[in-house]
C-alpha cells in the first residue's frame, strides 16, 4: 500500500536539488468567507465505512435543494483511507470534501492541504465542545465535527442486580466496589473488563487521567507524568492487581457474548455496541453507566468523524455549503435515523427521535463531558507508545510511576511535529 505512495513521492524526489525547511509561520488563521446563494457545480466527496455507503441519501436531498449542484460521493474503506488521503495530497488529486477521523486532522492540517473553516459557516457553540476542539490545530479551525461517539460502561443488568447495585457508581471508589461486588456476589468471573494495553487502550485509560484533573498536553508540553496522571494509572493498575479484570486481551467479538453470559460484568465501549449486543439478543439485558469521576469530572473520550474541504478544491464555496448542510440540526437527525451516528450538533439531541431514547440520553449527557486527545500530527505515534506502557501495567511488569515516566519521555522525544 505504501509502495504507491513511495512512488508518488519518488518521482518528485528524483529531481531533488535543494532541500531545507522554511521557517514555520504560526498563529491562528481566519478562513475566507463563503459567497451567498445556492450551491452549484460538481462537488466530490470521500467518506469512509457505512457513512460512505449511505451518504448519497443526504447528497440527494442536498441536490433537491440546490438543483444546480451535483454531489458525487466516493465510498472509501476505512482500512486504506489514511494512505489513500496521503497519496491524494502528495499527488494533488484530492476531492473537494472529505470525511476525516478526529485523530487525523492534526496531521493533514499540517500538510497545508486543508482549507480553513470559513467564519460564520457554522456556529462553534452549536457543537459539543470536545468535538469542536478536534478540528482545531494551532488555534486554527480546519474541520467541522459531523458525528460523535463517546465511551460508557456497558453492564450486565442481572449481575448488577444480584450484586445489589441500584444506581451507577459516581466515583472511582464506588466503581471499584461495584466491580468487586459483581465479581463476589454477582457471580461474574471478571468484575469489569478494561482493555489491557495494545492498540487503542489509551481511549479507555486517558479518560481516567482526565477524570482525575490530569491531561495529555497542556498546550506547551506533555504532562503525562503529572501526579494526577500517575494516580489515574495506579487506579487502572488496581483492577488487574486485585484480579477484577483479565490481563489477557479479548479479541473483537469476544466481549459481547461474555458480557451477556455474565462472565464479564462490565466493559467500556462506544455507541456501536448497542447494535452489536442487540443483535446477539441482548436487548434489555444490559444497562449503560456514565463514567465515574476521580478528583475531577466524569470525563470520557470523544471520537467520531469530521468534514474538511481541501484547499485546492475547484468548487470551494459549494463544498463548504454542502458541509454546512450536513451540520443542520434537521439533517443531523435524519442522518441519525439513516446510520445511527450520534449528532455532533447539540440542538439535534432535542428532537424527540433522540430525546425519547433512554440509552441515548446517557450518551448525550456523557458527551457534554468528553474530551479528545490533542490535535497534533504525531498523536498516533505517541498513542502507540502509551498503549505499549499500558500493556506493561496491565501485565504487571512495571509500576504506574515508571510507566508514566516512560510515556512522558517518549512523547517528549517524538514531539508535536510542529
Amino acid at each position: 500500500m505504501n509502495r504507491r505512495l513511495l512512488a508518488t513521492v519518488a518521482v518528485a524526489a528524483l529531481a531533488l536539488s535543494a532541500c531545507g525547511r522554511d521557517a514555520e509561520d504560526s498563529g491562528p488563521q481566519q478562513g475566507e468567507a463563503v459567497a451567498g446563494g445556492n450551491a452549484s457545480g460538481e462537488i466530490t466527496v470521500w467518506a469512509m465505512g457505512t457513512e460512505g455507503e449511505k451518504l448519497s441519501t443526504l447528497a440527494d436531498a442536498f441536490m433537491a435543494e440546490n438543483p444546480e449542484a451535483e454531489v458525487k460521493v466516493t465510498p472509501v474503506p476505512w482500512d486504506g483511507a489514511h494512505n489513500k488521503l496521503a497519496a491524494a495530497i502528495a499527488g494533488q488529486e484530492t476531492p473537494d470534501v472529505t470525511m476525516l477521523g478526529t485523530t487525523w486532522i492534526g496531521e493533514f492540517a499540517k500538510t497545508g492541504a486543508l482549507d480553513v473553516v470559513p467564519p460564520e459557516l457554522v456556529d462553534a457553540k452549536a457543537f459539543f465542545p470536545g468535538a469542536w476542539e478536534t478540528g482545531i490545530v494551532d488555534g486554527t479551525s480546519y474541520s467541522v465535527p459531523w458525528y460523535v461517539e463517546t465511551r460508557l460502561l456497558y453492564v450486565n443488568s442481572s449481575v448488577a442486580e444480584k450484586a445489589g447495585i441500584t444506581s451507577p457508581p459516581k466515583t472511582w471508589a464506588e466503581l471499584t466496589q461495584a466491580a468487586k461486588d459483581m465479581q463476589a456476589k454477582g457471580g461474574a468471573k471478571w468484575g469489569i473488563y478494561l482493555q489491557p494495553g495494545q492498540t487503542g487502550a489509551w481511549q479507555t485509560v486517558m479518560p481516567f487521567v482526565w477524570q482525575n484533573g490530569g491531561d495529555i498536553y497542556d498546550g506547551e508540553k506533555f504532562v503525562l507524568d503529572s501526579p494526577d496522571a500517575v494516580q489515574a494509572l495506579e487506579y487502572y493498575k488496581s483492577f488487574y492487581d486485585s484480579g477484577l479484570s483479565s490481563r489477557d486481551r479479548l479479541r473483537e467479538g469476544e466481549t459481547e457474548p461474555k458480557l451477556l453470559s455474565g462472565e464479564i460484568a462490565a466493559f467500556v465501549s462506544g455507541p456501536w455496541n448497542i447494535g452489536l449486543l442487540d443483535e446477539l439478543g441482548g436487548e434489555g439485558k444490559y444497562e449503560l453507566w456514565p463514567m465515574p469521576s476521580g478528583s475531577g469530572d466524569f470525563t470520557s473520550f470523544i471520537g467520531g468523524s469530521n468534514m474538511s474541504v481541501f484547499k485546492n478544491s475547484k468548487n470551494r464555496d459549494a463544498a463548504w455549503k454542502f458541509v454546512a448542510y450536513l451540520m443542520r440540526p434537521d439533517v443531523q437527525v435524519k442522518w441519525y435515523q439513516t446510520v445511527a451516528d450520534l449528532p455532533a450538533v447539540q440542538e439535534a439531541w432535542d428532537n424527540e427521535t433522540l430525546a425519547g431514547d433512554q440509552q441515548l440520553k446517557v450518551f448525550g449527557d456523557q458527551l457534554d463531558k468528553a474530551k479528545a486527545p490533542p490535535s497534533i500530527p504525531t498523536w498516533e505515534q505517541i498513542a502507540a507508545g502509551v498503549d505499549t506502557e499500558l500493556e506493561k501495567i496491565a501485565k504487571g511488569t512495571t509500576s504506574a510511576a515508571d510507566a508514566a515516566k516512560a510515556m512522558q519521555s517518549q512523547a517528549s522525544s517524538i514531539g508535536t511535529g510542529g
Binding site: N2, R3, L6, A7, V9, A10, V11, A12, A13, L14, L16, S17, A18, C19, G20, R21, D22, H82, A86, I89, A90, Q92, E107, K110, T111, G112, A113, G197, Q198, T199, D248, R249, R251, P377, T378, E380, Q381, A384, T388, E391, K392, K395, T397, G417
Partner: protein
C-alpha cells in the same frame, strides 16, 4: 555481423569520414531498434521499480514526514542520522531480536519438515499421494485471513482444540497468543506449517531428479538407509536446498503477516517483527526513518542470501 569483402575494400578506398558513417549507420539503427524493443520494459522498470527504490534511498537520508507531503523537497538532509538512531531505538532492537529468532528457528524447521514430507511422499509407501500433496500445499495458497481465524479457534485458551487435546493428558495449556513466552514460538510453528508446502513441492522435484541407479549402487555397496540419506540424498539435493533456503529466508526476514493478523505484535512486543515495526513507522508518517529501516532489512536479506550461497554452493561432482 559479417560484411561482404567488397564493402571492406570500398571502405578502405573512400575518404575516412564517409567510411565511418557507412559502418556506423547500420549498428546504430540496429541498436535503436533494440532499445525500441526494450523501451516499454525499461520505462516501466525505471518509473515503477528503480525510481521508488532510489527515491526511498534518498528519503532515508532526510527527515521527511507525513506532514511534508505537499512539499517533499522542503525537508532537511540528515545524512545517516536515521540509520544511527536505529541503534538506540529499543523497539527496533526488540523487533530485530524477534525477527532473528524467527529466521534462525523457522528456516531450518520449515526446511526439515518440508524435506521430511517430501521424502515421505517420494518413498512410494504412501497411498493417495495426490491428496496428501494437495493437502500439504493448501496452506500456501490459502488466504492468511482465513488461516488466522482457524488458528485462533484452535489456540483459544479455554475451549481451543489444542488445549482441549492437552487437557486429555492432564496438561493445562497456556493462553498461547497472549503469553510472552509462547506467542513467538506459536507463530514460528504457524509459519512453518504455512510454508512447508512450498518447500515440499520443490524438494519433491529435486528428489525425483536423483537417478534411481545411484541408490541401487549404494544399496549393493551395503549403504544403509541413513547412510544413503546422508551421503547420497543430501549432496544431490544441495542446489534444491540452496533454492529453498534462500527463498524461505527472504520470506522469513520479512515476517509480517502472522503477527499482523494474530497478535498485532503483542504481548509486550514479543512478536513485533522488523517489517511490522517499519510498517508502523510508515503509518505514523515517519517516512525518513521508516525508509532507513527498510534499507537495513534489505541489506540483511542480501547478506543472508550470500551466506547461503557460500554455505551450500554446489561443489560436488
Amino acid at each position: 555481423m559479417s560484411a561482404p569483402p567488397e564493402t571492406a575494400t570500398n571502405t578502405a578506398a573512400v575518404p575516412a569520414t564517409g567510411g565511418d558513417a557507412g559502418t556506423a549507420r547500420r549498428p546504430r539503427s540496429r541498436s535503436l531498434a533494440g532499445w525500441g524493443f526494450a523501451l516499454p520494459f525499461a520505462l516501466l522498470f525505471l518509473v515503477f521499480t528503480a525510481g521508488p527504490v532510489v527515491a526511498s534511498l534518498l528519503m532515508s537520508v532526510t527527515d521527511l514526514r507525513g506532514t511534508d507531503l505537499l512539499d517533499p523537497f522542503n525537508v532537511d538532509i540528515v545524512g545517516l542520522d536515521n540509520y544511527l538512531r536505529l541503534a538506540g531505538d529499543e523497539k527496533f532492537l526488540t523487533a530485530a531480536g524477534n525477527t532473528a529468532i524467527f529466521v534462525v528457528v523457522g528456516v531450518p524447521l520449515t526446511m526439515a519438515l518440508s524435506l521430511l514430507v517430501a521424502m515421505g511422499l517420494n518413498s512410494g509407501l504412501v497411498r493417495f499421494q495426490t491428496l496428501f500433496r494437495v493437502g500439504y500445499y493448501l496452506p500456501v495458497v490459502t488466504s492468511i485471513v482465513a488461516i488466522s481465524v482457524v488458528w485462533r479457534f484452535v489456540l483459544q485458551p479455554d475451549s481451543g482444540l489444542l488445549n482441549e487435546f492437552l487437557g486429555l493428558f492432564g496438561v493445562d495449556g497456556p493462553n498461547w497468543l497472549n503469553n510472552q513466552t509462547f506467542a513467538l514460538p506459536t507463530l514460528i510453528v504457524m509459519g512453518a506449517w504455512r510454508n512447508l508446502g512450498f518447500g515440499m513441492v520443490i524438494f519433491l522435484a529435486g528428489l525425483q531428479a536423483i537417478p534411481k541407479d545411484l541408490y541401487e549402487a549404494a544399496t549393493i555397496d551395503g549403504a544403509r538407509r541413513f547412510a544413503r540419506f546422508r551421503y547420497l540424498t543430501v549432496p544431490m539435493l544441495r542446489p534444491t536446498m540452496l533454492f529453498v533456503a534462500v527463498i524461505t529466508t527472504i520470506g522469513y526476514v520479512q515476517f509480517f503477516e502472522e503477527p499482523f493478523v494474530m497478535t498485532q505484535g503483542g504481548p509486550l512486543d514479543s512478536t513485533l517483527s522488523l517489517a511490522y515495526h517499519t510498517y508502523n513507522q510508515f503509518g505514523f508518517g515517519n517516512y525518513g526513518s521508516a525508509s532507513a529501516m527498510g534499507y537495513v532489512l534489505f541489506v540483511v536479506v542480501v547478506l543472508l542470501s550470500i551466506a547461503w550461497f557460500k554455505l551450500l554452493r554446489n561443489n560436488v561432482d
